[in-house]
Subunit: 140 residues, 2 copies
C-alpha cells in the first residue's frame, strides 16, 4: 500500500470522526447511540443487555443505560425473562419501529444529499470499503 494512501486515510478518518460525532448530535429525535441500539433490537430482538453489548461491542453498563432510556421513551419494552430471574429481554415497540424508520429515512436523505454529485461507482465503492473497514476494526 502506498504511504500516500495510508496518510490520506489516517487524516481523513480523524476529520470524519470529529465531524460526524457532532454533526449527528443536532437532532431532537433519536441520538446516534439509541439509533444503533434500536436497530440492533429491531433485528435481533428478544435479547438482554449482555448480548446487545457483545453485538455492539460496548460495555454492558453503557447499553444498560441506553436501553433504559429507550424504555423510558416507550421505544422498547423490557420484559422479565421467565426462565431466569436475573435476566430481561428488550423488544422494540411498534412506536419504536416507527420512530426508527423515520429517523433512518431522515439519515438516508441527508446522506443522499451529500452524495448527489457522486458517480454511482464511487458511492458503491465507498459503501463497500466502509463496510470492509468496519469489519477489519471488528476483527482487530
Amino acid at each position: 500500500m502506498s504511504n500516500q494512501s495510508l496518510e490520506t486515510i489516517e487524516l481523513e478518518l480523524a476529520i470524519l470522526i470529529r465531524r460526524l460525532t457532532t454533526a449527528t448530535a443536532d437532532n431532537r429525535n433519536l441520538d446516534r447511540a439509541s439509533y444503533l441500539l434500536l436497530r440492533q433490537l429491531s433485528d435481533s430482538g428478544q435479547v438482554g443487555v449482555k448480548t446487545l453489548a457483545r453485538e455492539l461491542q460496548l460495555d454492558v453498563s453503557t447499553v444498560s443505560r441506553q436501553a433504559a432510556a429507550l424504555d423510558q421513551k416507550k421505544l422498547v419494552e423490557k420484559i422479565k425473562d421467565p426462565t431466569d430471574g436475573r435476566a430481561f429481554f428488550y423488544n422494540i415497540t411498534p412506536y419504536g419501529q416507527q420512530e426508527l424508520e423515520i429517523y433512518r429515512t431522515a439519515r438516508l436523505t441527508s446522506i443522499e444529499r451529500l452524495l448527489t454529485d457522486w458517480p454511482d461507482e464511487d458511492a458503491e465503492s465507498f459503501g463497500r470499503l466502509l463496510k470492509q473497514f468496519n469489519q477489519a476494526l471488528r476483527e482487530r
Copy 2:
C-alpha cells in the same frame, strides 16, 4: 445512486463513528481532539483560537480549552499578539512537533495493520472517497 449503496453507507458510517469515537480514546498520549488541533497548528501556525476554530469547524470555546490544555502540556506556546491587545498566537513547540510525529506514526501503524490484506487499489479508493466525503460535509 443505488439505494443499496446508500443504505450501506448510512449504516456503516454510523458504526464507524461509534467504533472510532471510543477506539481512539485508549491512549495516554494525545487525545483525538488535541491531535487535530496540533496538526492544524503545525501546518498553519501563528494563529489564534478564532482562526483555528474556523478552520476546524469547532466552537471557539472548545478550541480555547483544547489550546489551553496543549499549552499546559508545553506542546504549544501562547504568544501575545503585539499588534492587538486582545489576541494571541499559538505556536507548536519542538516538543509538540515531536509528540505529534510520535502519535501520528502510531496511528499510521495501527491503520496499516488494519489494511494489511487490502489490495492497494482499495486503500487508494478508500482514502480518496473519505476525502471526498469530508469535503462534501464541509461544504454542506
